[in-house]
Each structure stands twice: as C-alpha cells, then as structure tokens.
C-alpha cells in the first residue's frame, strides 16, 4: 500500500514537473541581424529616448566600461546578477537577436537561445511596452557600437542559481501585459502611467518586494530598495514632508533639483541624468501621473505643504550649538538627549557651513533639511548613505555636490549626528535603528570604495 502511495506521488510529481517543464521550455530563435544602416534614423532616435527613460545604460554598463557592454553588478537578496552585454556584437552581445527575440526577452524574460532570464532584468515592467516602442528600442540597441565582451554569469545562491527557478518565478508572479487606458483621465496622465509602469520601471525600486523578490502589487509605490539605497514611496506614500506636486516633480526629474525636496542621490542620480535626453512631454507626463498616485485630497495636500514649509523655515533660522550662544540663540532643552547635544556640535562644525549658512554661498544652496526626504524617511538608510558617500556628480561632470564624511566621523559620531538631525529637522519619531543601519551599510562595498 505504502509502495503504491509513494509510486503514485512519484508519478504525480513527475507529471507536474513534466507539465511545468513543457510550459517553461522555450526554443531558440534563429540568429538574424539587420545592418545598422537599414534602421530608420527617426525610429532610432525614438528608441534613444526610450532607452534614456528606461535608464538601460546604468545596469548594462560597468564603471569605466563601454556603453551597454554589461558588467554592472546588481545586488539582490539572492546574490549578484550582472547586467549583460546588449551591444550588437554577434558573439557576446545581442547582435544575432532578431526583433522577435528581442521582444520575447522584454516580454517573457527569455533569451534568444531560450534561457530564462532573471527578473533583475525588469521584464515584469517591459512587457507593458507597445510593439512600436519595442521596435524603436531594438533599432536603437542595434545601432550602438558593438563591443566584444562576454557577459558575466550571475552569482546566485541555490536554488536561484538554476535558471529554471526564474521560470517558476514567472509562473507565479509574471502577470499582465499592456496598460489599460483610463478614459476618465487625461491623455498626459495615461502616457505617464504607461511610461512609469513600462519602460520607466519605477516600481522596480519604489515598490517593496516579497520574499521571492517579486513586487508586492498590493503595496505598489510604498517604497522599496535599490542598490543598497532606500527608494522612498511615491505619491501619497512619499515620506517627503512637502507633498509632491506635479510642478515640483517635473522640475526634479527635468533639472535634478526641486526647491521643496532637493536633489536626487544614490541610484536616482543616473535616472534623472538620463531623463535629460527624454522628451519634455514624457517627463511632464510621468510627473503628472506620479503626483496623482494615492489620490490625495488636494486641500489637505495644500495644507500639509504650507505646514511643512513653515516648519522647515522655522527650524532653518535657528542656529545649532551646544550652548546656544551663537547669533539667534536657541539653546537645546535642559532634558536634551546627550547624543543629540553631541550631534548638534558636530552639525555646527561639519554641516552648518552649507546647511545653515545665513549669507551667500558660492555653491547652489541645499534644500532646507526640514524638507529632506532622507531626514524624514521612516528609517535612516538615506541619511546614513548621504553622510557616508556624499553626493557626487559623475566623473568629469559638473553637478550638485556634497562631500563624503566617511573617515571624518566615527560611527558613534554619525549616530549622534543622526539623532540630532532627526530631532531638530523632523517631527517624525526618532530612528530606532541607526547603529544597525550603519553597520549593515558598512558591510556592503560602496561604489566609491571599489577599485575601478
């Protein structure tokens, strides 16, 4: 009897696996290539703008490497996946991929040869792209400079190191395709929704992921992780004290600075830098869509905005310091947390020159810290990252800058500074986990510390 049950189970498992394997199996698409000269320049130009919105070059280019030749490490909870070579080199890139193969990769996450691609490549978003947009992106990629560089194999833990695990992931999590139009909304809003969900793949960082690394659709845009940074929630789920307006978001995405929010940092920097190449109308459309997420009450948002600006202004004109002897003189309360007092002295010496300067600065003035998302976020990753890494424009380019304080301040001093800044510049409760966040970040290699 037991033997029969076991045999039955074995057969059932074999049948189930067989069915799964048959579903998961994808054939090779025959090699094909189109000479670069045959692509319509107009279509290529359209593809270039889509590639900019998609930030493709960031994950498909390594530090100091040739554009789109791959090698960029994408850290996941399951190990590291390296951006592949997507230049049209026929041997090591995608030069032998037909448009059908390219489209299958974007929509189904399957390579030309039929291998399952890991969802670090966000085909869960790209599958929403229209045929025409995929064709344009294909034309753009196929007209790049071919680079012969073998793509690096992913370094993943078991069972994710078996590519078929990506098929199982898709079976459970890969849903939908195309974005339904909301006829009640404007053309611009619908365009934004399409770009954000598809090529823009904003949710890849801004939506939290479950234990299997899939986005929690029930919690869309509630804030997630990207490259060791905290990607804040969007729309009504944003921790920014000043509710994001369409105008502020457009300025932020277009110019890299919004006066009620500040500058992009970490992995958002290349996103915004690449958006410079996108059409103005598309940037505006994304800002329009994102600023309506969560359907905030307009009057309430306006009140919150005024309140946030008032608070930030009130805190910005006070002068920090252990004694309160300086200029406009506000002394810390008698029962002040000693860490906050020590932090105030550090702030006065290390931060106030730029962040509390009353007079003119030879640099662009930073946003009032009371408005900073990093300072007001539910947890301190953004603050700690910014203090440790600073904010740097790309090599050999001009841009907003903050020096790194890694090496200047010890961990204990960074914790004291965080305590002070959080208490003084935010009305949110104190961060409970600065020390843990700091030691976690210390364990990760930062880009600036890596040898090129």
């Amino acid at each position: 009897m037991l033997g029969r049950i076991i045999a039955g189970l074995v057969v059932a498992i074999a049948v189930a696996f067989g069915a799964f394997y048959a579903w998961a199996w994808h054939g090779e698409i025959a090699p094909a290539s189109t000479p670069a000269a045959l692509f319509d320049p107009g279509v290529v130009a359209k593809g270039a703008k889509l590639a900019a919105i998609g930030n493709c070059g960031t994950c498909h280019t390594q530090a100091g490497g040739k554009p789109y030749a791959g090698g960029f490490p994408v850290e996941t909870p399951f190990g590291t996946v390296y951006g592949s070579n997507i230049t049209p080199d026929p041997e090591t890139g995608i030069g032998s991929w037909s448009q059908a193969a390219f489209q299958r990769a974007l929509r189904e996450g399957v390579s030309r040869r039929g291998d399952h691609l890991y969802p670090a490549f966000p085909y869960d978003h790209f599958r929403h792209m229209s045929d025409g947009d995929i064709a344009a992106l294909y034309a753009f990629m196929m007209t790049r400079q071919p680079v012969a560089l073998k793509s690096r194999e992913p370094e993943l833990t078991f069972p994710m190191n078996i590519r078929l695990s990506a098929a199982a992931w898709k079976l459970i999590f890969l849903r939908g395709g195309g974005i339904a139009r909301d006829t009640a909304k404007s053309e611009e809003w619908n365009r934004g929704a399409y770009l954000v969900a598809g090529i823009g793949h904003c949710g890849s960082c801004h939506t939290p992921r479950n234990a299997f690394g899939a986005e929690k659709k029930s919690d869309e845009f509630a804030g997630g992780m990207g490259e060791g940074w905290r990607a804040p929630g969007l729309g009504s789920k944003s921790p920014a004290p000043a509710p994001w307006t369409q105008a502020q978001l457009y300025t932020y995405l277009r110019d890299g600075f919004a006066d009620q929010h500040g500058v992009p940092a970490g992995p958002m920097q290349p996103v915004v830098r690449n958006l410079q190449k996108a059409d103005d109308a598309d940037v505006r459309a994304m800002a329009t869509y994102i600023s309506t997420l969560g359907n905030q009450d307009r009057a309430l948002a306006d009140r919150n905005l005024r309140d946030a600006l008032d608070f930030a202004h009130a805190r910005a004109v006070r002068v920090p310091g252990a004694t309160g002897s300086a200029t406009t003189g506000s002394s810390p309360p008698a029962n002040a947390d000693p860490a906050a007092t020590a932090g105030a002295a550090i702030f006065a010496g290390a931060c106030a020159t730029c962040h509390r300067s009353g007079g003119g600065l030879p640099i662009a003035r930073p946003v009032a810290l009371g408005l900073s998302t990093a300072v007001n976020a539910p947890e301190p990753t953004g603050f700690v990252r910014t203090v440790l890494d600073g904010i740097h424009p790309p090599p050999d380019e001009a841009g907003r800058f903050m020096p790194s304080f890694n090496g200047t301040l010890t961990d204990a001093q960074i914790i004291a500074l965080a305590t002070y800044v959080r208490a003084h510049y935010s009305r949110q409760p104190p961060w409970a986990n600065v020390a843990a966040t700091l030691s976690q970040i210390r364990r990760q290699p930062t880009a600036a510390m890596e040898a090129p």
Binding site: G321, A345, G349, A350, T353, P403, L409, A451
Partner: protein
C-alpha cells in the same frame, strides 16, 4: 580643553568644540601646510589624514577628534629630509602656485598606504576630490605614480597609528 594628536605629538588646545580642525592646525598649532581654500569641502586644499583616511579639515569640528590621530604634511618629512611623497612632488615639479599641493600630497599618501601600486584609474579616482586651478594635474598624477614606485617595499600597507 581638547587633547589632539597631530603627527605623533599630543597637544592640548582650548577652543570651542565646533572649531574646524583646519583653524586649530594653522592658528593654534602653527602647522600651516593645510590651506583654507573654500571652507565647503569642495576643493581639498585643507586635506589631512585622520586615522589613515583623507578628510577635509575645514569641515572637521575639533570635537570629533578625541582619541584619533591626525597627520599633516609636516608629518611626512621636512625640507631637509622630504618623505617619498614630498620628494616625488618635488622631482616632478608638480606645483605651479602650490596652494593645492599639501592637500594633494596627503590624499596621495592615504592612497599609497592603502594601495601599494595603484593603477592610473585608481589614482584619478582617489585624487578626484582635490582640485588644482593652475593645471598641473598631469604632473600631480606623475608625482603620485613616482611616489608609489618609491614607496614599494618601504612601507607596510597601513602604518600603525602612533598613539
């Protein structure tokens, strides 16, 4: 009163804890190698080492230095006996006006203590925070390479802090 260890010597200074290290070095200790450039951490003329890390001394309040070890160009050698980094900068005639050079030397020193034979790309990346307005960047890069060669075998990768 704050106790400060600079180039192996302990000093006691009586200043506001918020005072930048740069001011204490120049005004109180008369160590004038580190320069005031921008006061904003943007130019690197004030670069010194704290516990082996290059930092902007203009943005380092003295209160954070208790029990830590500061090094300045004065600790690398003297006019009569220049250290390997100083000698390399002299040999390559890396200075034009020279204002940025002490900061450059300290950042180079930190790099070479960490990385014995850096690649050109590593040198460029490490030196990037320090600016030179005269245009001797190529000579500075050559000086760092020369110093790297001179220091191979001379120094253990990270010298023990002299507390």
């Amino acid at each position: 009163m704050i106790e400060l260890n600079v180039n192996g010597e302990t000093h006691r200074v009586d200043v506001d804890p918020r005072t930048p290290l740069l001011y204490v070095l120049r005004n109180d200790l008369k160590l004038n190698a580190a320069k005031f450039g921008c006061g904003l951490g943007q130019c690197g003329a004030c670069t010194v080492l704290i516990d082996h890390s290059p930092v902007f001394s203009c943005l380092t309040p003295i209160s954070v230095l208790e029990g830590r070890y500061v090094r300045t160009v004065e600790g690398l050698g003297s006019a009569d006996k220049p250290g390997p980094v100083q000698k390399a900068f002299i040999d390559e005639q890396a200075a034009q006006c020279g204002y940025c050079i002490p900061g450059m030397m300290m950042r180079a020193q930190a790099l070479l203590e960490r990385t014995a034979s850096p690649s050109d790309a590593q040198i460029r990346q490490a030196m990037a925070p320090n600016l030179c307005r005269c245009g001797t960047q190529m000579r500075i890069l050559r000086a760092v390479k020369r110093a790297a060669k001179a220091m191979v075998g001379e120094l253990t990768p990270v010298r023990e802090a002299q507390k």
